[in-house]
C-alpha cells in the first residue's frame, strides 16, 4: 500500500514515508487512502475501538498528572501508542494470550484487565498483579525482551496440545530487538512453527537511544526473514491498519495457508510522544521538532475523523463517550487509592506454601511492628 503522495509530504516522518511497503489505511488526517481496503469491522466494533483508544489517552493523561502530584510512582506513558495497543488487543479472540511490557496499559485493558488493577502497582501494591482467571494476560515484562521466548513457548505448548485455535500475541520494543532473547525467541518460533504474533512497537526510541543505534538493518520487519517467518510493517498510528495487519497475522497463526508458517513479526511504526517514563527528560537527548511531525498523525484524531466521515460518530455521541470514559477512569483511580497492602504480603506467593523459614521472618517482622509502631519503619533510610 502506498503513502498518499501529496504536497507537504516532506513533513511525513521518514520512518513511515521512505518505505512503500508500509501498510496504511488512513492518511494523516484520517481520510481513507485511495487504494486502501478497509477491514470488515462492524460499526459497533469501530466504536469500541474508538472509545477504548479515547479511554487510553485519558488514562495516560491522568496517570502522568497523578505521578506529578506524587500519587503514583514511575509511570511509562503510552501517548501516541494507544491506537496500536488497542487495535492489536481488539484483534485478539478471547482465548488468545497477551504478553505485555510495562508500556502496554491499554493493550491489557482492551484484553480484559480492569483499570484499577493497572493503577495499583503504580501505587506500590502488588494486588493489581493478580490477573483474573478468565483473563489471558501475563504480568507485564520489565526485563527487556525476556517475554519473547516465553510467548513462543506458550504458543508451542498450545500447538503441541492441538489447541491451535489459541494464538499468542507478544509485545516488544525496538530496543528489545537487540537482546539475545529476541533472537532466540523468534528463531524458536520459526523452527517450531508456533501460533504466535510478535508486535514490535517501534516508537523510534529506547530511552535516549534512537532506533538507528539498535540495528543497522533498514527496518525491524526485515529481521523476520532471517528466521524464515513473515515480517510486516504497519503504520502504528493508524488503528485501522494495525487492526487489519494484526487480525490477518492472528488468523494465519491459527490457520496457515499451504506453505505458510504460522508466526509473524509485525513492526508497528510509531513514535514515543512523551518521555520514556515520568523519570525521564527527553529534552536532554532529542529535538522536540522531531515530535511535531508525528503529532500531526495522532491516532486519536485519525480514528475520530474517520468515524465522523463515515457518519458513525457525531458530536453528541462523542461527548457521551467522553463522559463515560472520564467516569470510568475516575472510578478506577478511586478504587486503586483505597487499596492497602499488609506487610504480610512480603512473604506470600513466593511459593505455594510459605516455607517455615520465611514464616519465621514474617513473625519476626510482626513482633517488631508490635514493639515499635509502624511509623518507625518509614523513617527515611538515607
Amino acid at each position: 500500500m502506498n503513502m498518499k503522495n501529496e504536497a507537504g509530504s516532506k513533513d511525513v516522518p521518514a520512518a513511515v514515508r521512505e518505505d512503500s511497503d508500509i501498510v496504511q489505511i488512513l492518511d494523516a488526517e484520517g481520510d481513507v487512502l485511495p487504494q486502501a481496503s478497509v477491514p470488515d469491522i462492524s460499526d459497533r466494533q469501530l466504536l469500541e475501538l474508538y472509545e477504548t483508544i479515547k479511554l487510553a489517552r485519558h488514562f495516560d493523561q491522568r496517570a502522568i498528572s497523578f505521578q506529578r502530584q506524587g500519587r503514583l510512582a514511575t509511570y511509562a506513558p503510552m501517548t501516541g501508542q494507544e491506537g496500536s495497543q488497542v487495535a492489536t488487543s481488539l484483534a485478539l479472540a478471547e482465548q488468545d494470550w497477551l504478553f505485555p511490557t510495562y508500556r502496554e496499559h491499554a493493550a491489557k485493558y482492551a484484553h480484559g484487565m480492569d483499570l484499577a488493577s493497572l493503577f495499583e502497582p503504580l501505587r506500590g501494591h502488588r494486588e493489581g498483579y493478580a490477573i483474573p482467571e478468565d483473563v489471558n494476560v501475563m504480568p507485564e515484562y520489565i526485563p527487556i525482551a525476556t517475554q519473547v521466548p516465553q510467548a513462543m513457548g506458550m504458543a508451542w505448548g498450545h500447538k503441541l496440545q492441538g489447541k491451535t485455535d489459541t494464538a499468542v500475541l507478544c509485545h516488544l520494543g525496538d530496543g528489545a530487538t537487540s537482546e539475545g532473547d529476541f533472537h532466540e525467541g523468534l528463531n524458536f518460533a520459526g523452527v517450531f512453527d508456533v501460533p504466535a504474533v510478535f508486535v514490535c512497537n517501534n516508537n523510534q526510541w529506547a530511552i535516549s537511544v534512537p532506533r538507528e543505534r539498535q540495528t543497522a538493518s533498514e527496518t525491524i520487519a526485515e529481521k523476520a526473514q532471517a528466521y524464515g517467518i513473515d515480517g510486516v510493517r504497519v503504520d502504528g498510528l493508524d488503528p485501522l491498519a494495525v487492526y487489519k495487519v494484526a487480525s490477518e497475522a492472528l488468523e494465519k497463526a491459527r490457520n496457515p495457508g499451504p506453505g505458510e508458517l504460522r508466526p509473524t513479526l509485525i513492526e508497528s511504526v510509531q513514535y514515543r510522544f512523551g518521555a520514556h517514563t515520568t523519570a525521564d527528560d527527553p529534552s536532554v537527548y532529542r529535538d522536540e521538532s522531531e515530535e511535531e511531525v508525528w503529532r500531526d498523525r495522532d491516532p486519536v484524531d485519525r480514528i475520530e475523523t474517520y468515524l465522523y466521515n463515515e457518519g458513525i460518530l457525531d458530536s453528541d455521541l462523542e461527548s457521551e463517550i467522553q463522559d463515560r470514559i472520564e467516569q470510568e477512569v475516575s472510578e478506577a483511580i478511586e478504587t486503586a487509592e483505597q487499596t492497602e497492602t499488609s506487610p504480610d504480603n512480603i512473604v506470600e506467593h513466593v511459593y505455594e506454601d510459605v516455607p517455615a523459614r520465611l514464616e519465621q521472618q514474617r513473625d519476626e517482622l510482626n513482633r517488631l511492628r508490635e514493639k515499635y509502631d509502624d511509623g518507625a519503619f518509614s523513617e527515611v533510610l538515607e
Binding site: P121, E379, L381
Partner: protein, 338 residues
C-alpha cells in the same frame, strides 16, 4: 550535577554527592588515561539514567562514551574483547536487576580468562551497576544480588558508602588488573555531600573501613545500609550506653578478613546488616569466617539483619523489607543483651 574537574582546576576539593563523585571519578580517570572508555545503555547523550556519566560524552566524545544497543551480554562480551586490545572498558549495567543477560559473559569469561589462559590474558574491566532498594522503583529495579558475584572466583566486588570512597574505590577498580563489579548504592546517590579531592587518589580494594569505634559489638555492613547502621549505633549509645563498632566492608570480594576478625576479637559479638535476602547472603560468609577465625572470643549468637527470603516488594512495603534503623537497633540490643 557537579561541574567537571576541568572547570574546578585550582580547587583542592569539591563537595559532592556519591553519584557526582562517581561522575568525577570517571572524568578524572578518562582525562588521565585515553584507554578508559565508558559504554552502555543511555550513558552517552543522556548522561546515564542517574546522571552518573553526565557531561562525559560532551567532554570525551562518542568514541569514548558510547551508547550501545540494548544488550547486556553484548556490552559485557564486547568489553571483554575491548580489554584484550589494551583498552580499559567501564561498561554500565543500567540496573543490577538487568545484569542477568550478561551473567554468562561475566562468570564464564570475565572471571576466568586469567585462569583459562594460565595468566596470559586478563580482563581489566569495571562493570558499574546501581543496586539496592528504597527509591520507590518499579519491579526488578531494586535488586541486591552481590552474593551472586562474590560467589564467583576471579571477580572483585566493591560497594562504596560515601562520596570520598566512591571516587577512590572507582579509581582503584579501574587501575586493578582484574575484573571488578562496582555496585553503587543508588538509595544514597544523592543523600549527602562530602568533600572529595579533585586530584586523583585511590582507596584500597583490600581494606574495610571502621566507621565507628566501639567495644560492645561489631556491626558489619556496606553500601546503603552503612548509614542506618551508624544511626542505630548512635541511638543505642545515647539511649542504652551500648558501644557498637560499625565496619563498612567496602570491598565484598575478596573480603578483608583481618579487619573483620580483629574487631570481633575485641567485641565478641557481631551483627551483620544487608538488604539482600538472608539465605545465602554475604552475612553467612562473614559469620562463618568469624567462627572459623575467632570462635573462642564469641559471647553471643551472631545476628543477621537482612532482607526477606522473598522478592523485593513494590514500594508500599519496601520500608518493611529493608533493614531500617529500628530493626538494626533491635538486633544489636538482642545480641548485646544475650
Amino acid at each position: 550535577m557537579s561541574s567537571t574537574a576541568s572547570t574546578q582546576a585550582g580547587q583542592k576539593a569539591q563537595s559532592l554527592t556519591l553519584v557526582e563523585a562517581i561522575q568525577d571519578g570517571l572524568y578524572t580517570e578518562m582525562a588521565q588515561d585515553d584507554s578508559v572508555v565508558v559504554l552502555g545503555e543511555d550513558v552517552g547523550k543522556n548522561g546515564g539514567v542517574f546522571r552518573a556519566t553526565d557531561q562525559l560524552y560532551e567532554e570525551f566524545g562518542e568514541d569514548r562514551v558510547i551508547d550501545t544497543p540494548l544488550a547486556e551480554a553484548g556490552i559485557v562480551g564486547a568489553s571483554i574483547g575491548l580489554s584484550q586490545t589494551g583498552m580499559k572498558p567501564v561498561p554500565e549495567m543500567q540496573f543490577m536487576g538487568f545484569m542477568y543477560p550478561a551473567f554468562d559473559q561475566i562468570v564464564s569469561h570475565a572471571a576466568r580468562l586469567r585462569s583459562r589462559s594460565q595468566g596470559q590474558y586478563s580482563v581489566p574491566m569495571v562493570i558499574r551497576a546501581p543496586y539496592g532498594g528504597g527509591i520507590r522503583a518499579p519491579e526488578h529495579h531494586s535488586e541486591s544480588k552481590e552474593a551472586f558475584f562474590v560467589h564467583e572466583p576471579g571477580l572483585k566486588v566493591v560497594s562504596p558508602s560515601t562520596p570520598y570512597d566512591a571516587k577512590g574505590l572507582l579509581a582503584a577498580s579501574i587501575h586493578d588488573p582484574d575484573p571488578v563489579i562496582f555496585l553503587e548504592p543508588k538509595l544514597i546517590y544523592r543523600a549527602f555531600r562530602e568533600d572529595v579531592p579533585t586530584k586523583p587518589y585511590e582507596v584500597s580494594l583490600s581494606e574495610a573501613a571502621v566507621r565507628r569505634d566501639g567495644s560492645d559489638i561489631s556491626v558489619y555492613t556496606w553500601g546503603a545500609m552503612t548509614r542506618p547502621a551508624l544511626i542505630a549505633a548512635e541511638n543505642l549509645s545515647q539511649s542504652r550506653g551500648i558501644d557498637a563498632e560499625v565496619i563498612d566492608l567496602r570491598t565484598l570480594s575478596p573480603l578483608d578478613t583481618e579487619t573483620i576478625t580483629d574487631s570481633f576479637k575485641k567485641t565478641g559479638r557481631a551483627a551483620i546488616v544487608h538488604e539482600a535476602p538472608k539465605t545465602g547472603g554475604l552475612g553467612a560468609e562473614i559469620a562463618t569466617t568469624i567462627q572459623e577465625e575467632a570462635l573462642v572470643h564469641q559471647e553471643a549468637p551472631i545476628k543477621r539483619i537482612a532482607g526477606f527470603d522473598a522478592p523485593m516488594p513494590l514500594h508500599s512495603l519496601e520500608d518493611y523489607y529493608l533493614p531500617q534503623a529500628v530493626r538494626i537497633q533491635d538486633g544489636i540490643r538482642e545480641t548485646v543483651e544475650f
